[in-house]
């Protein structure tokens, strides 16, 4: 294989005039972080609402939860992003569609919302499992004290359910970061996108993707460590995963 390794490439100026190739990759990393964090917030908020709906006795509520989860988890993420980015503007009334197409930063917002909704289905199922794993008596005890359903969830069920599902939620957060790379297909130049442009400009494909790999690893390591601290912080003395 005739390949010219050049690890100094990162310090050479990139043709975009935005500094070195390393700067190029780092700017991609920043976009990855931004889109992942926003997607994760969307996933957590909507996923929590849907997860709770799935545990309510109301049939309408669990039907809504069921439809939401099955819609978002049964379609490939790639297809979903295409749907939101290319198909949705065409389905809307003309003016609304045009407005959507002309939105500044459209790939960014579409990726954040698209990945967020895709992940929300997974968060919902996790949370549902967390809530149903609690003893039935917890809800009864809370209800018997006169707390309303909303208060029961807010003060009794959710604090425990979230503690229980914290380890799998960590995995879902990591998945969100990794899934954000799919946004390259709708034109978002995040970390993977910048690695590709570096490859195209410099022909140093192995260096580019080695660096991207390392940056993804570092980013996920930060998340894992932070979540580990969070787990320890909210652990309950004497209880399952307690200190």
């Amino acid at each position: 294989m005739n390949y010219n390794w050049n690890w100094h490439i990162f310090l050479e100026p990139n043709p975009m005039g935005t500094g070195t190739y390393l700067d190029l990759l780092l700017s991609g990393l920043v976009v990855t972080v931004k889109v992942s964090v926003l997607a994760w917030i969307i996933a957590l908020v909507t996923g929590s609402v849907i997860g709770v709906l799935r545990t309510l006795p109301s049939r309408t509520a669990s039907w809504i939860g069921f439809c939401w989860v099955e819609f978002f988890r049964n379609m490939p993420l790639l297809v979903q992003l295409f749907l939101w980015f290319f198909v949705l503007p065409e389905l809307l009334p003309r003016t609304a569609g045009l407005w959507l197409k002309q939105l500044p930063n459209a790939p960014f917002w579409t990726a954040a919302i698209g990945v967020g909704l895709f992940m929300s289905a997974r968060v919902a199922v996790q949370l549902q499992a967390g809530i149903t794993s609690l003893p039935r008596g917890q809800k009864q005890a809370s209800t018997a004290l006169g707390l309303t359903t909303v208060q029961t969830y807010r003060y009794v069920l959710l604090p425990m359910a979230f503690r229980i599902i914290l380890p799998p939620l960590t995995s879902e957060f990591l998945n969100t970061i990794k899934n954000s790379a799919v946004a390259i297909t709708i034109g978002l130049i995040e970390l993977t996108g910048q690695a590709r442009s570096m490859q195209e400009f410099s022909f140093q494909v192995f260096e580019a993707f080695t660096a991207a790999t390392v940056l993804y690893l570092l980013l996920n390591f930060v998340v894992v460590t932070a979540m580990r601290f969070l787990e320890r912080y909210v652990a309950i003395p004497g209880y399952i995963t307690g200190k």
């Binding site: 008596g137 809370s142 018997a144 004290l145 707390l147 425990m160 309950i236 004497g238 209880y239």
Partner: protein
Amino acid sequence: MIEINHVNKWYGPTFQVLKDCTTSVAKGEVVVVCGPSGSGKSTLIKCVNALEPIQGGDITLDGVKVNDPKTDLPKLRSRVGMVFQHFELFPHLRIIDNLRLAQEKVLGRKSDDATAKGMKLLERVGLKDHAKKFPAELSGGQQQRVAIARALAMDPIAMLFDEPTSALDPEMISEVLDVMVDLAREGMTMMVVTHEMGFANKVADRVIFMDRGEIVEDAKKADFFGTPRSDRAQKFLSKILQH
């Protein structure tokens, strides 16, 4: 205080758990409900504060109809204390916070007042020193005493006990029964599902015997232990009293 009139309840379309149950608990009265497992006694007591819905008949609590859709159930429930077989303390809250939660969120008491009230009751059940601990750091008997204190913190007009000692090791049963005996002697209205015939003998005014969803026997304590009128009650008593 508690009026139960011709109550019928089904699980699913065919299985009838409660068959035309009628009884009452007067103010200041202590009524013990006993019977073999699966006889519907726990279900009956959970119907009193509408933790379980009923399909026929009426239940009135201090003049308020429990099974009326217009009844403000959370408010009604906050006036009746309930103690469960598995304690059902909220594991993520410190003992004192377990006692404060419903006082503040349901009754709207100020944090200081709720804490003061909680500490007074913890002292009463002999657990003042454990206020800052978490439930999992306490023994079963201690947890159940906290659960009783938590219910009393709401200043209930009546107390419901659903097999309060069934999940306890033998040496812890008496510490819980002692608290209950004191409560009964102070004139608290109590409905107690239990197999502790010693407790029944000591403080009950009446004993209800249930079998297969029916109230078979509803008699003054002396009559029940003297000459229970039904075969089934006699058999039950001979079985649990022979050891």
